[in-house]
């Protein structure tokens, strides 16, 4: 479910960065205030590593024989609490983005939101916690895990759809895109939920104090709904602020994005005719008014002409040649150096 840089516009990417940064700052301040940062830090760090290790073990899904692995948002939240879990997921995503090119730098904000904020800060406190409020039993743990994992993944997948459409990179109509994404993630969510519940029940049986202490602590200290709503409000304000900032500097981009999401769903209902391409050209570029801008009406005169095509191929070849030349040069001087050394 990792969002990719290639599918994002800078406006959506940076706006989501701002939202996620806000959530990170809030959570970090929160666990510092609750004095959890020194006691929980090693557990969080090792749990982050556990997610990596657990993702290596695929499992066989019964009947289909296909395989999957767990994401871990709800699992971590149930073991660590929502804020430490969110920071742990963030750390995992950051490492994935930086060292494994999973997602990407620009998309990191989206990914933190979709896979961190949504399951840890929304699905867990709003669904998991109330479902086990009456006390932990294996049955309640199972129900809560499956429900919150499915809901978390559905919401996360929906965010992916919205972010992609708002970026205007894909021509997929909203309805089709959603119809593709949601069922896939329903299956993934169900698996994730089942595994989460199996693992949690195992932990609960072996070392009940790990989960019990967390549930008691939150019971004592909690108005979870109110707090979640406060976070939600803060996030909305930040998002709104950042988006309007972009809107004022690049009016085309946002109007287009908003119009498209709303418009295309209407069109989908109306029969699936796609919007005129001319409108799309301006998309979300920084300087929208050059070359392909009018491609819809005036194809030949713009950058798609012979000159443009030949230039593109040439530029690409030139870039490759430059790299190759440097490598060859380096290799030769390296050999010479080695030769001199010997």
């Amino acid at each position: 479910m990792h969002m990719a840089d290639a599918l994002l516009s800078p406006a959506v990417g940076t706006a989501m960065w701002a939202v996620s940064a806000g959530a990170v700052a809030y959570s970090a301040a929160k666990i510092k205030k609750d004095d959890l940062d020194d006691k929980k830090l090693p557990v969080m760090g090792v749990m982050g590593a556990f997610v990596f290790a657990a993702q290596m073990i695929n499992f066989t899904i019964p009947v289909t024989g296909s395989s999957g692995h767990i994401g871990g948002g709800i699992l971590l939240a149930a073991l660590l609490g929502e804020f430490p879990a969110f920071l742990t997921v963030t750390a995992v995503l950051l490492i994935q983005a930086l060292f494994f090119a999973d997602g990407g730098l620009l998309a990191l904000g989206c990914n933190i939101f979709n896979m961190g904020v949504v399951p840890c800060l929304f699905a867990y406190p709003l669904l998991f916690k109330p479902l086990v409020k009456k006390g932990l039993t294996p049955k309640r743990i199972a129900i809560a895990s499956v429900v919150s994992a499915v809901a978390g993944l559905q919401a996360g997948a929906f965010c992916v759809v919205l972010e992609t459409l708002a970026s205007g990179i894909t021509a997929l109509p909203f309805g089709v895109f959603a119809a593709l994404m949601q069922p896939i993630h329903l299956a993934i969510g169900a698996c994730e939920g089942l595994i989460t519940s199996a693992v949690l029940i195992f932990v609960y049986k072996m070392r009940p104090e790990i989960m019990e202490s967390l549930q008691q602590k939150t019971k004592m200290a909690c108005v979870p709904l109110g707090k979640t709503l406060a976070v939600l409000a803060a996030l909305t304000i930040v998002t709104g602020g950042v988006l309007s900032l972009f809107a004022s500097s690049y009016p085309d981009g946002l109007e287009w994005a908003v119009g498209k999401v709303a418009g295309s769903s209407e069109i989908e209902a109306g029969g699936g005719v796609y919007q005129a391409t001319g409108e799309i050209q301006s998309s979300t570029s920084f300087m929208p008014d050059y070359n392909y801008k009018d491609a819809g009406e005036d194809v030949g005169a713009s950058g798609t002409s012979v000159a443009g095509l030949a230039g593109s191929v040439l530029t690409f070849a030139l870039a490759g040649a430059t790299g190759l030349a440097i490598s060859l040069f380096k290799r030769r001087t390296g050999e010479k150096g080695a030769g001199a050394g010997a």
Binding site: A4, D5, S9, T14, V24, D37, D38, P42, M44, G45, V46, G48, F52, A53, A54, M56, I57, N58, T60, I61, P62, S67, L87, T90, A91, L98, F99, A101, G104, L105, I169, T170, A171, L172, I195, V199, F202, R207, I210, Y274, I280, S285, F286, M287, Y290, N291, A295, G303, T304, S305, V306, G308, L309, G311, L314, T315, A319, G320, G323, K330
Partner: protein, 281 residues
């Protein structure tokens, strides 16, 4: 041992060799980061800013501007060559990111069928053009991040994160996650091996055993976390800590950074490919 080789992920089977090789992959990039080329020597902050700026510039391109994007290939090509980062490594890491990108890209081909231009008698639709743009963007943005990570050791990057005012807890968390992911993966691998040796007919781990298997791994991890915490406490730990300060950036580092940013903006405004083409054609 029919499955001993590398099975494909879509077959749904994981083999021992698979896990072993992915553990190797975990720190593969670190091996590269130990190099000593000019790119390795650049200040991590300069590289980080340049990379971020570059990615935003690339992302800002419109849906159909394949030509304009081409010139951005120079930066990764040069960086790759100077830092001696093997192309195969970059390609291997790029592949897992592909499916989702392709889904969006190919759907453009289906939905955006208006013809954009002709190459000889063959019409190229806007959808194909946008697929090309998406693929180029994906390749460029993945490559530059990988080059950043392949030329900068983890602790230097973590240090810069702290300088960017990312909360100390998160920086420490990233460092610890990175530290222990190999150890726990090794543990998972050992458990997995022990499991498969006693269940030879089965592919992977049966769903029924997943709870106790993963749970066992989890309990071991918690046990380790408790010991790590004790070790930290013994050395006076109270709250997250700063990391070793990196060296200061030299003028050359900033020259590099500013150049990359400037070129990113310049070529965003000037369509280099088009100009080149016009001169020649």
């Amino acid at each position: 041992m029919r499955d001993c080789g590398r099975t494909r992920w879509w077959k749904g089977a994981v083999t021992i060799a698979d896990i072993k090789s992915s553990i190797g992959e975990l720190y593969a990039i670190e091996q590269l980061a130990r190099g000593a080329s000019a790119v390795h020597r650049l200040h991590p902050m300069a590289k980080l800013i340049a990379t971020a700026f570059y990615i935003i510039a690339v992302a800002s391109y419109g849906r159909y501007d394949a030509g304009g994007l081409m010139v951005y290939a120079f930066y990764p090509a040069v960086m790759m060559a100077v830092s001696e980062t093997p192309c195969r490594f970059l390609l291997r890491r790029f592949l897992p990111a592909l499916p989702f990108v392709l889904l969006a890209g190919i759907s453009n081909v289906l939905f955006d069928t208006q013809t954009a231009f002709f190459i000889g008698p063959v019409g190229v639709s806007f959808g194909v053009l946008s697929l090309a743009v998406i693929l180029i963007k994906a390749w460029l943005s993945v490559t530059v991040v990988l080059i950043l990570a392949a030329t900068t050791p983890m602790q230097d990057l973590a240090c810069q994160l702290a300088r960017l005012r990312i909360p100390a807890v998160l920086v420490m968390l990233v460092a610890m996650t990175y530290r222990y992911m190999g150890i726990l993966s090794d543990e998972a691998h050992a458990m997995f091996t022990a499991y498969t040796l006693r269940a030879p007919k089965q592919k992977g781990i049966a769903m029924a055993h997943m709870g106790s298997f993963t749970g066992q791994l989890l309990l071991r991890s918690i046990g380790r976390a408790e010991r790590v915490y004790a070790a930290m406490k013994c050395r006076g730990f109270h709250g997250a800590q700063r990391l070793a300060p990196a060296r200061r950036a030299a003028a050359a580092d900033w020259v590099f950074c500013v150049c990359v940013c400037l070129f990113s903006v310049l070529f965003r405004v000037v369509n280099f490919s088009y100009l080149l083409g016009r001169i020649l054609v």
